[in-house]
């Protein structure tokens, strides 16, 4: 009797396991449009996206695309770097057709490993050449500015630093937060190296370290700590603060852009087509869709990022892209992350 019961349980486990596989192959509950016949600019087919951008941000946009084109979209959400690493490990069997990364570094890493396909010229031309791969291997979809956020209760507007070099002064000792392990921060350091040279960049890093800059794990934790007044200033990206302000309108933190130095550089989130894709047509159609004025507006309004397609205005409450005195850097030169990491390690901050 008992033996039968055991086999019943094993059987049950086996069946449920295969059920899970079966479910996996079928359409998921979240895409009602998948079965409906194509309507508008129908491309049909399927598209697998590995997205380092999270679902809350781009989920609605992708759903709209799915409904309009009838292309079934499958998204694997995750960490930008881990997904890029996964594509590298998957090799020729990668299920990914498109990679949507949070920063240019990950896109550059895929390009260097020859895992990307060229994007057609007419699409590339929709975006300023500063915000895409010069070889046409990836393209920026939305921009984010580096910014100094400050606690408005601890710092007066008139004492705010005009350049990142002022952060190394005695009066900011132990009061500045940064995130040396964070990709956006590292892109900023790379920019600093391009503008001022490695020696000066190292000098700045060491001065910051000696000035007891407080280390945090990422931008969110810095802004969070700023809100509590744990630190007075923080080196972050522009779109984190609005999220805090949405939940708490009295959140005591504000933006400050430095003048003409990498403290206010612009970096991008963008997409690449994976070399092993069998759905290139759909992938190209998706990129076109992401660069339409409607989609670009969506980034401005929902994620507080800067639209990159030429001619689309930026987010309402933020300083326009043109007014930020971002240094003129070719983003494609930002891919020397190795050098930046060496520098960060040399300075003892990583």
């Amino acid at each position: 009797m008992k033996r039968r019961k055991f086999f019943f349980l094993v059987g049950l486990a086996a069946i449920s396991g295969s059920l899970a596989i079966a479910c996996n192959n079928g359409p998921t509950a979240t895409d009602p449009a998948a079965e409906s016949p194509a309507t508008l600019v129908a491309t049909g087919g399927e598209l697998n996206i590995y997205s380092g951008r999270n679902e809350q941000l781009i989920g609605p946009l992708l759903e709209r695309y799915e409904a309009e084109t009838g292309t079934k979209i499958n998204v694997r959400y995750g960490d930008t770097a881990e997904l890029a690493a996964a594509i590298l490990e998957e090799g020729q069997n990668s299920p990914a057709d498109v990679f949507f990364g949070q920063d240019a570094g990950a896109l550059g890493a895929l390009q260097r490993a020859n895992r990307t396909k060229s994007i057609p010229e007419e699409i590339l031309n929709k975006v300023d050449s500063r915000f895409r791969s010069p070889e046409g291997q990836w393209i920026g979809i939305s921009g984010r500015a580096r910014v100094i956020d400050y606690n408005t209760e601890l710092v007066n507007e008139n004492e705010l630093p005009n350049s990142i070099w002022e952060l190394t002064e005695e009066k900011w000792r132990g009061r500045v937060g940064w995130a040396p392990t964070n990709g956006s921060f590292q892109a900023f350091v790379t920019a600093l190296r391009l503008v001022e040279g490695d020696d000066r960049a190292l000098e700045w890093l060491e001065a910051m370290r000696d000035n007891d800059a407080q280390v945090y794990s990422n931008n969110t934790t810095i802004v969070e700590a700023l809100g509590r007044g744990e630190i007075a200033l923080g080196l972050v990206n522009n779109y984190y603060l609005p999220r805090f302000q949405e939940e708490d309108p009295n959140f005591p933190v504000a933006h400050h852009y430095t003048q003409n130095d990498p403290g206010s550089m612009i970096n991008v989130a963008g997409v690449a087509i994976i070399d092993t894709t069998e759905h290139e047509e759909q992938a190209i159609s998706l990129i076109e869709y992401l660069l339409t004025p409607e989609s670009q507006q969506y980034f401005a309004q929902e994620t507080n990022e800067y639209p990159l397609a030429t001619g689309v205005p930026g987010p309402d409450e933020q300083v326009p892209l043109e007014q930020i005195n971002a240094p003129d850097i070719d983003l494609s030169n930002l891919d020397d992350l190795e050098g930046t990491l060496n520098l960060l390690q040399q300075a003892g901050v990583l």
Binding site: D79, E90, P95, G105, Y240, E247, E338, L350
Partner: protein, 543 residues
């Protein structure tokens, strides 16, 4: 079919040549072998990747000051965390199993639950409460002129947070051990004139050694593999360095080299633990089950005992839940937010449930082989099963991405693949608890069953499994509670579009959407509470 006789000194001498150990039953060996292959995959992957670095580069990398520093940090941190969690777990286990502590079962449940709190939520709660500025404590002390508290970041924060949220490993293991001790031994000791203290130190504690060591091993490995806490507490550990290699430089080879160094460290720990094992027998002649045990009367000591339980619960459970509720109450329609995560909660429970089921199924043969048929190979399998648990999740996940996509594409990113990943990572949790229980079962019982004509399979089913039930139950609980929190493997290996509570929390905290994070955390806690209740109701309680 040839009949194998189990190991027994008499039968050995009569039937088999002296010195020839009995062969384990085939089905155990097969299942053990499957587990062993799973365990070996991450190692093979790491070796392949590390080979991508030239010897000179590798040596340069190993002897960097930073590398040496993280090795030192990781080792010292793991040791301190283990000692601290022993200070929390041992008294708790003893109080909830052996004494007449008021509301014993309640404490048993709430002190296990911190395992269900994701480290990022737990660490965040500690920072929000004890952070240097703007924290709860500082705002209370502000009227007294306290502008800034001593920093929680670095050593104090990382040690406290990991110990506070990993001590349940030790607790569950030691509770299982305590329940398995035959009360007759302590009674005999007492009748031979030993007082309570002497019984505890000379009979109970030595009996508990395997459970304590198994639990401590899990705590050490957890401390080494955890990423959330060191990153939030701004502490430079192995995992943080490995993540830096992945996240910042996309350098899979150096990440692998670092991971391999971690494997070496884990192997040393495993070897030390192996050396600490004795050949002592932990079972008694009879069966421990079904005997009533006399509970220790606490008398006036029950007040400090209650205070201790309350303090631990406050730090590990009330604080994080407080933070979660604080977030949630800021939502305009908290109930709607909660309802929206119901289907995701079911996903989580389903995946973690399957993980617990299959991992326990495979842990059983590994533990039995190691205890009943000790040999070089079986010991190696049993020891090596811990390596997957000692590595950061992302390393194991990427190794399975590598093998899955390239050699088993039909299995890649399916549910069975995800369950297999959980098995590779979490198997040792139940190997440890089952091993602890099995050591307390007298092998003569199994031998008698064999002598009475039962097959190995029948013996396993009718004798061994019922006797190691406490270990199995603890193992199931541990695997469920850790698998439900797992992130990197879930993100990379689950069927596309499969969402869990853990991934929801991660997305939400990254996005500073604290209301959603709170809802998902609460969902996680509810699922885990229900499971813990069910499992603890299976424990045998003496009244």
């Amino acid at each position: 079919m040839t009949k194998q006789f189990p190991r027994s000194s008499i039968i050995d001498k009569l039937v088999l040549n002296k010195g020839q150990a009995a062969r384990p039953p085939l089905f155990l060996v097969l299942m053990g072998a499957i587990a062993a292959i799973g365990i070996a995959l991450p190692l093979v992957y790491l070796i392949i990747r590390t080979m991508g670095i030239s010897g000179e580069q590798l040596w340069e990398f190993v002897r960097r000051r930073q590398t040496l520093e993280i090795i030192f940090n990781s080792i010292v941190m793991a040791i301190v965390v283990t000692l601290l969690s022993a200070l929390i777990a041992l008294p708790l286990a003893f109080l909830t199993v052996r004494t007449d502590l008021p509301w014993r079962r309640f404490w048993a449940i709430v002190t296990t639950l911190p395992l269900a709190i994701p480290t990022y939520v737990g660490s965040f709660a500690l920072i929000a409460t004890f952070g240097p500025r703007g924290s709860l404590l500082q705002s209370w002390l502000a009227p007294l002129g306290v502008e800034r508290l001593p920093s929680i970041y670095g050593w104090p924060g990382v040690v406290a947070a990991i110990a506070l949220f990993s001590y349940p490993y030790l607790l569950l293991s030691v509770r299982t051990g305590l329940q398995g001790i035959d009360p007759a031994m302590e009674e005999s000791a007492r009748s031979l004139g030993h007082n309570s203290w002497s019984v505890f130190f000379r009979v109970t504690l030595p009996q508990l050694q395997p459970s304590i060591v198994a639990g401590a091993l899990l705590v050490i490995l957890y401390a080494l593999r955890d990423f959330g806490t060191p990153s939030l507490m701004r502490f430079n550990s192995f995992t943080r360095a490995i993540f830096t290699q992945y996240r910042a430089s996309f350098n899979l080879n150096f990440a692998a080299a670092l991971s391999l160094m971690l494997v070496v460290l884990v192997s040393i720990i495993l070897w030390l633990e192996y050396q600490a094992r004795t050949q002592a027998k932990y079972y008694s002649r009879g069966s421990a089950l079904g005997r009533k045990r006399q509970l220790i009367r606490l008398g006036p000591w029950k007040w400090p005992a209650l205070a201790f339980c309350s303090l631990v619960t406050l730090l590990c459970l009330v604080l994080p839940i407080g933070v979660i509720l604080y977030w949630l109450l800021r939502a305009t329609a908290p109930l709607a937010v909660l309802r929206s995560i119901l289907s995701i909660a079911l996903n989580s429970a389903w995946a973690a449930g399957l993980a617990a089921l299959f991992s326990t199924l495979f842990a059983l043969p590994v533990a039995i082989l190691g205890v009943r048929f000790p040999g070089r190979l079986t010991t190696l399998i049993e020891r090596a099963s811990y390596i997957g648990f000692g590595l950061p999740g992302v390393v194991v996940a990427l190794s399975l991405v590598f093998f899955g996509a390239n050699y088993a594409p039909w299995l890649y990113q399916t549910m069975p693949m995800l369950i297999f990943a959980y098995l590779v990572m979490f198997l040792p949790q139940s190997v440890g608890t089952i091993r602890g229980s099995l050591l307390q079962v007298n092998p003569r019982l199994e031998e008698s069953a064999r002598c009475l004509g039962q097959t190995p399979w029948q013996t396993l089913r009718k004798v061994t499994i019922p006797l190691v039930r406490p270990g199995i139950i603890s193992g199931v609980a541990l695997i469920f509670l850790t698998a439900i929190k797992e992130l990197p493997a879930t993100l990379l290996l689950s069927p596309i579009g499969f969402r869990t509570l853990a991934s929801q929390i991660w997305v939400a905290t990254n996005n500073a959407a604290f209301i959603d994070a709170a809802a998902a955390s609460l969902g996680l806690l509810l699922v885990c509470t229900i499971l813990t209740l069910v499992l603890l109701s299976q424990e045998q309680y003496s009244t």
